[in-house]
Symmetry: C2
Subunit: 345 residues, 2 copies
Amino acid sequence: MTEIRNRRIILASRPVGMPTTDNLPIDTVTLPAPGAGEMVVKVLYLSLDPYMRGRMDASKSYAANVALGDPMVGGAAGRVIASNNPKFKEGDYVFGMFGWQEYALSNGAGVRKLDPAQAPITTSLGVLGMPGMTAYVGLLDKGRPKAGETVVVSAASGAVGGLVGQIAKIKGCRAVGIAGGPQKCAYVVDELGFDACVDYKADDFREKLKEAVPAGIDVYFENVGGAVSEAVMTRMNDFSRVALCGLIAHYNDTGAAEGVDRLPRFMFSMLAKRMSLNGFIVSDHPERAGDFFKDMTAWVRDGQVRYREDIVSGGLDKTVEAFQGLLTGRNFGKLIMQIAEDTAA
Amino acid sequence: MTEIRNRRIILASRPVGMPTTDNLPIDTVTLPAPGAGEMVVKVLYLSLDPYMRGRMDASKSYAANVALGDPMVGGAAGRVIASNNPKFKEGDYVFGMFGWQEYALSNGAGVRKLDPAQAPITTSLGVLGMPGMTAYVGLLDKGRPKAGETVVVSAASGAVGGLVGQIAKIKGCRAVGIAGGPQKCAYVVDELGFDACVDYKADDFREKLKEAVPAGIDVYFENVGGAVSEAVMTRMNDFSRVALCGLIAHYNDTGAAEGVDRLPRFMFSMLAKRMSLNGFIVSDHPERAGDFFKDMTAWVRDGQVRYREDIVSGGLDKTVEAFQGLLTGRNFGKLIMQIAEDTAA
């Protein structure tokens, strides 16, 4: 095959606050020809997820940070355009951690074949991928909801949050979402079937939240932190559980906030209400992948779980802008960047 | 029997910060004669415990607060001096929630007979009582230590903390205490057999803590909060557990501390390290009482668990002062107030 000029987004410098194209410029390199056992994947869809912000920082996070000068990491769906790997052939659709780039050289490790006849390949980045499994493991294993309990999830119109509430409904719980703006809230209730959704941008957010959880909150699936979290904590029941999945409100924090130290009060609540708080990362739970795929595939097939994908076109040139939008809640549904059209390489 | 003038300490006003005798004056009332099924207990030893501070507040805590004008609540050991209850007879030694007073009228609910031949009756307030069971349930059920792991406990020379480390040793863990001052630390290591104890009052506390936990911390049994807790959090391992038992450093807080909001950073740690935090109150776990009594009685008998009681004389007149000392770490071992000599009523 002819030489491939590969465009990719590298981490040139660590962002302070919101990441910019200065931090994340595009560079162009020649893709090495695939060696023995290797293949070339043309990236079609790149998943953009909040966890990526943490990978840009130098501070210890739960996963290896991206080194300066390296391409940004990320899950993506693509098509094999050349292969010396016996398990994959040209034309195969695949999911893998291909990163923020137009082409990826892969030895096949961690790569999984996709069947576009069964489900759109973009679902491998969302409902049938990492966000789906995050909702599944976080809610069921960390939140441990019982039928009749009230489950609240923040970022409820997002890739993970939208699934959390729907799984909660399947398990017989009252599902209450928190989302930004009336349009997202309407979607959460009307399309996803939550019992209620509260707009955190509204002035009467705290009152509406109180009204939405007349029996208090038994499980809180935490995606955001900040003021939303603080309001939720006041309504948590005795013996309630917090599944701590993300803290998107704080991802661009540049230092500790001055003002009032809320930690002692938080700890008092945890003690007085005998609560449990569990931080988790879905990649620690590969043993649940089988259950997840079986259940979620059936739920999607039976219409018990609905999902929304926010597919943004524009390729790598628009990727940083789309990622900025993710951190401020501009996306609506699972944010997916279309990196290329599915045409011949 | 002759009329009994009962002296008792009532909650006259809710303390702001440290409780005083203005908040907790002594009043004297005539004890009603015991009715059918009732008995009169002469209180000999009153347990003084940090949780009592919370009962003095108006804010929602994990147990019913004491109403203004009511006697302060508390566990105590005493002797039955008159009984119309067929289950208890004059001369029986008993444990019950008799409160901060010299005599108690009881219908026998929640009262348990003690055998002074088997163990000093004061142990019903400590190692074989609520503090002992708190250590047992909190460490084993909430901390879930595995052999070879490192367990850290604050207030390590206290009634609960001293037992936590000893149970950790029995379970094959490295036990590290945190206590105030070299004398308490020496006791924790030399008498209780912890592997190490770090003085939180020393200037090099953080360095010493780091040295004492070369493999990091897997279980933290939290009794104090504040700066101690903050230092411990930086050394917690991935997948570590916090058993949240108490926050004595904050019990006299009169409002939120100004300065830096430490909550976001704390939550990030919980997430990045996939930690679990469990607030608990021992009274929620009566089903564990059988296991606790069996194990702890055997451990004490075999010398695997040692305990220290700090029995303060002076009766009700000195009780508030002793309680103040408890909140500032002045006691050394389980604090017990001797309310009366064990003589005829």
